[in-house]
Subunit: 706 residues, 2 copies
């Protein structure tokens, strides 16, 4: 369901200041009874020190929590930015109309019982959206928590959660209020606080992408966290998330990853993520790093907010505990990072300056007895090393070391530098509060465990990689004939055909320089024999009829035909499979590596290209990879290189192997084709036979659906 929201929001963002920086907040359904939402919101506004005007609305009460209370929103002095609506669901339409009459800008509808609650609720939600659109009120919710803004000039706690308002640099938008609550609670307990928070429940009007878009321009928001269970509008999400992701780090937690989890999402929200929407691929394409774990997400957000992204994957580790040096290495490697040995000049400097027993390879073990100047030296050298992208410092606090001085040296060497730094301080926090404080205040994120720091650096390096990829350019081939393809497609569309014939497929592939086995389209045996003469035996004979969809199963394919007699036998065997059949005589390609490649359209987000090894590899091992079209050369090469059985392409155990550059080229051409001709719904090349000799690589069968 696409909502009736302002269609301009993507290009001309509607500032959501009236929602996140309201000058006044009305609470319609305010209450003096402590355990009600209408009471709690007022209490939160009051406890948080909200800077604007607060107007409780209640039909009977004169004051609530000591505040003058209005009988109706119509009685409230004009210019209300935000009105919480906490009345019964069936009363919401009338309440909204009244809000419209008093020029309320945004309604946070906390009340539940809308689209999450069956057919009647859906109708009610549609009704309120119409009323709101007419009254020019933006709706937040319904069935939602609300927003919080920790800006000292605002301190708007328009929400009924329990989390204290603590100023920070991370803004959080969560589809599930519970998940959002736990995330901001965790950010608080990690000492980070948060900037703004929004949980918009059913998201009938204001969407998470719209909120992200607003935060993109909020200078104090350094990092955006989003929680997604379903995606109402993938196109809107892709457009906005890509734009926002270029400006500041966006981190996501996507739940319902497993089949069982996805079922639980349906039961929770009534919505499915949308089968076939490759959410992980979408996030990666937008430069959004996704997490499977709320705590990992929060721990990482703190580093993203305070540290530069690393330029690459190479981590140098400094440790004063050998055991944790090993743990840091394991963690980094498992997070996709590299632990390169240090260059000779760095090692020499370390050997000269550290204790003789110190390890200087990487990890650098300065030893438990290391003094502040040893950290200073080691970190200084690593900062200078051009082979290091980020630094992980392990510091267990020995009682015999001046730990605060070590902390100061770590800060002096690392804070505000261009390399990413994560510090692991292993200590009794009560005893070493100052040591921790010195580092935290410097902007270097502090972790309790090297495992955590390694995951965080892994996530940062992943975002860095996504950003690098987004700079890769799709360079279209010039030798393509788009017009030829257009006319094939138009003809088929005119005839309302969705599956293209062999001849049409051949024209399309030829027009985009995608190699295929030579073939001839024939109407009778004579033509088949003559085609075989031209092509040369052995050949393959296939039926070519829209009536026969599964050719092989129906007996419509004969492979390895060696002479005219076999060809005639094959022809006679399949001529009665369809009325007025046509036939394809095709060169029998010699055995090569069987490849599958293809593309399919995903509503709203373009085409996804697929690549893999055929046969058992795709069917048993699912050894296929996906990427959005169009493909840069690097992206195509990465696809070819990233299948699990890549060694087979390289020529496994003296076998022939395949020219991988040619395969990458085919993928690029294929991606160009579906990008130029978006009417193509599905395209499969299965199999392509690949060889060491690129000129022989060719598709042996193809299928195009429009």
């Amino acid at each position: 369901m696409k909502n009736q929201r302002n269609p301009d929001i993507i290009n001309k963002p509607v500032a959501l200041d009236f929602l996140f920086k309201p000058k006044s907040v009305a609470v319609i359904g305010a209450s003096n009874r402590p355990l009600t939402i209408g009471h709690q919101i007022l209490r939160n506004l009051s406890d948080s020190g909200y800077k604007g005007a607060v107007y409780p609305v209640h039909p009977v009460e004169d004051t609530i929590l000591g505040l003058k209370t209005y009988k109706s929103i119509l009685d409230v002095p004009g210019g209300v930015d935000v009105a919480h609506i906490v009345v019964k669901n069936t009363l919401v339409p009338a309440t909204l109309e009244e809000c419209g009459r008093n020029f309320v800008k945004a309604a946070i509808i906390n009340t539940a019982g809308f689209s999450e609650a069956g057919a009647e609720g859906i109708a009610l939600e549609n009704k309120i959206i119409k009323i709101a659109a007419k009254a020019k009120i933006r709706v937040f919710g319904p069935n939602c928590q609300g927003i919080i803004n920790s800006d000292p000039g605002v301190r708007a706690y328009c929400n009924f959660t329990f989390t204290k308002l603590t100023r920070g640099a991370i803004s959080v938008a969560a589809q599930s209020g519970g998940v959002g609550e736990v995330i901001i609670q965790r950010l608080n307990s990690l000492g980070s606080g948060f900037r703004m928070y929004a949980s918009n429940g059913n998201a009938a009007d204001i969407s998470i992408p719209e909120i992200m878009n607003y935060w993109a321009d909020d200078e104090e928001t350094k990092v955006i966290i989003i929680h997604l269970e379903s995606l109402a509008d993938p196109e809107e999400f892709m457009e906005i998330a890509s734009r926002v992701g270029r400006k500041k780090p966006v981190l996501a937690i996507k739940t319902g990853r497993t089949a069982e989890g996805a079922r639980a999402v349906v039961s929770h929200t009534g919505r499915l993520m949308g089968s076939g929407i490759p959410i992980e691929l979408m996030l990666e394409k937008c430069g959004v790093v996704s997490f499977n774990d709320q705590d990992e997400l929060c721990q990482a957000a703190i580093a993203f907010a305070a540290q530069p992204l690393p330029k690459g994957k190479r981590v140098a580790i400094v440790t004063n505990t050998g055991g944790h040096g090993v743990i840091a290495v394991d963690g980094c490697v498992e997070a996709g990072l590299l632990i390169p040995p240090l260059p000779d000049n760095t090692r020499e400097a370390l050997q000269n300056g550290l204790f003789p027993e110190a390890a200087t390879r990487n990890p650098v073990d300065v030893l438990a007895t290391a003094r502040p100047e040893h950290y200073s030296l080691a970190l200084g050298e690593l900062m200078k090393d051009s082979g290091t992208d980020s630094i992980l410092v392990n510091f267990i606090t020995p009682f015999f070391v001046d730990c605060e001085s070590v902390a100061r040296e770590i800060v002096k060497a690392c804070a505000g530098k261009e390399k990413t730094v994560a510090a692991v301080i292993m200590t009794d926090k009560a005893q070493q509060g100052n040591t921790l404080q010195i580092i935290k205040e410097s902007g270097i994120p502090v972790y309790d465990f090297p495992e955590t720091a390694a995951k965080v650096l892994g996530a940062m390096s992943r975002m860095s990689e996504y950003r690098n990829r987004s700079r890769e350019v799709f360079a279209p081939f010039k030798d393509v004939d788009k017009t030829a393809v257009r006319s094939v497609i138009s003809a088929a569309l005119k005839e309302k055909r969705t599956i293209l014939g062999a001849r049409e497929c051949a024209i399309i592939l030829d027009s985009y320089g995608i190699p295929r086995a030579p073939s001839e389209n024939c109407g009778n045996l004579q033509e088949c024999l003559s085609a075989a003469g031209k092509i040369g035996f052995p050949v393959v004979l296939k039926i070519d009829s829209a009536d026969v969809v599964h050719k092989t199963e129906a007996g419509g394919v004969v492979l390895n035909i060696c002479d005219e007699k076999e060809l005639a036998a094959g022809f006679n065997g399949m001529k009665s499979l369809a009325s007025r059949p046509r036939f394809l005589v095709q060169k029998q390609l010699p055995a090569g590596i069987e490849i599958i490649a293809g593309a399919h359209a995903v509503a709203g987000v373009g085409h996804v290209v697929m690549f893999g090894l055929g046969g058992v590899y795709v069917e048993v091992l699912k050894d296929v990879v996906f990427q959005f079209a169009p493909l840069s050369r690097q992206a195509a090469q990465r696809m070819v290189a990233s299948i699990k059985c890549h060694a087979i392409l390289e020529g496994f155990r003296g076998k022939e192997g395949a020219d991988t550059e040619k395969l990458a080229e085919i993928l690029i051409r294929l991606s160009q084709l579906v990008t130029d001709i978006p009417e193509i719904a599905e395209l499969d090349l299965n199999p392509i036979f690949a060889y060491r000799d690129p000129s022989r690589t060719a598709a042996a069968d193809m299928r195009i659906k429009i």
Copy 2:
């Protein structure tokens, strides 16, 4: 290096009471200077309220920390249980001798500069071990932290770490003091405390297995945590860990898992885990669950200490936040658990008792507004459901709910029951301290995130599975001829041959009922021709000579010989490959599924059996599985079922497939063979051709090394 420790410890455990419950502790090298180890140990003994006598030893001082100080250990009143030695490494031998003269029972040698520090250090360590053995002193360390015992009657803090002594039920033995320190610190910060702690550094005498053995009989130790970087004596470890693992949960953190991490271990400890030691397999065999993450380990330990192991993998989830229900499902599934739908009668009871909008499938979403009685009902029903092995309760604390009452209902329904329960309480800990306390005190472990609880339940179910497996029985086949194999092996050993000939291999396989392709051993062409006549063409001709190890590469194998002429040609082509060669004429098996199976001996821990698909599957995909011999039928079946490409065995896409029971039988027979005849160092059946017809499945090539 096997140490000079008491060889009886495995069967007749030497109680380590003198070490862990010392009546008196001397500190040789005690000091009045605050930042020294000799000072800190005294301070820790004093701060922790140690119940025994403390004797500082210092050549000059009269008192240290107010305690009467002795000039030498010889001056200390007799009967010292533990003497810390903190003097310079070269002074340790003389100090130990003095300790011997004053009947010290155990020396905790904190001093470094021994086997971790090169050749001189190794010599020094050997020297002190000799002195200690002669003086009947058990050595703990050297280069170590020491021990802690939190028993209220002992409170021995013989250690220089910073972690407070807090009583608990988890004992921790760590090779790396740093890792041990972080683990006990984390247990403390999670509110669990610990029972005993030991970090024995170079482990020259008292080993971690010996300590585990001691803790097995310590009633107050409910869970044992071990940290391993290297394994000095795998045999000792296996024997003890298996015994201890049957008595109480043993959890391990094995670091140096990645190649890079293993290199860092060498640089840290100077030791390698021992290439070829399948540590994960060993731990599993002993019923030890291993972790990759210190925090996960600690979080799990708390549940293992307080909850029964689940009987199976089936988890029921109760949640009052839909989003976290989804997260719990994802987490459980990714931890290897199952989320089965609930039976109709349970769902009916839930539908009748919960809010109408509650979800009753699994997760059970009682809704945020759920009252205490709803938790009581839901948990009560799940406790009764025979299809539920463990329960994960998510409770986010809504301000409008009486959270303490909910906590009390959770406790009433779940505490002390036979099903495993983990609670996730998502809250502001300052606001809901009582709620948390009510649950924690009941023995139900409390987590901040469903992700953590899911991992914990996964680990508990893994241990349960390991224990079930340990009850599986190896049922040896009776139709084997051990004597025949013995005589083949003896003959080869007498001739000092390590690679057995084809004929010997054939006798061995035949004696254990392992099917092989029919073959004849021949000395000349005439014999080959006659053998082929007997076996029937097509045949394979192989050279059989100890001179030709890599037969195929040397041209010593001709496949698919169809007639006598081809056989003669093959014979002539390979007869000069060796002096006095012999030949094998073997039935050419028809194409089937290529399997590899084998076994190899691992020093001290028996034989490991291997199974996988041959060719590209083993070489590119490494699709092989391992297990210790001998194999129960279930274990063999699991091996066959657990390869990634198992679908190929089932008959992929209408292809033939293989009889998997036959393959399991071959693995059992193979495991029986190497168990009966431990002289076999390596045995490879590569390939075995497998078919749907079990009677045709046979090994086509074999290699045995003794």
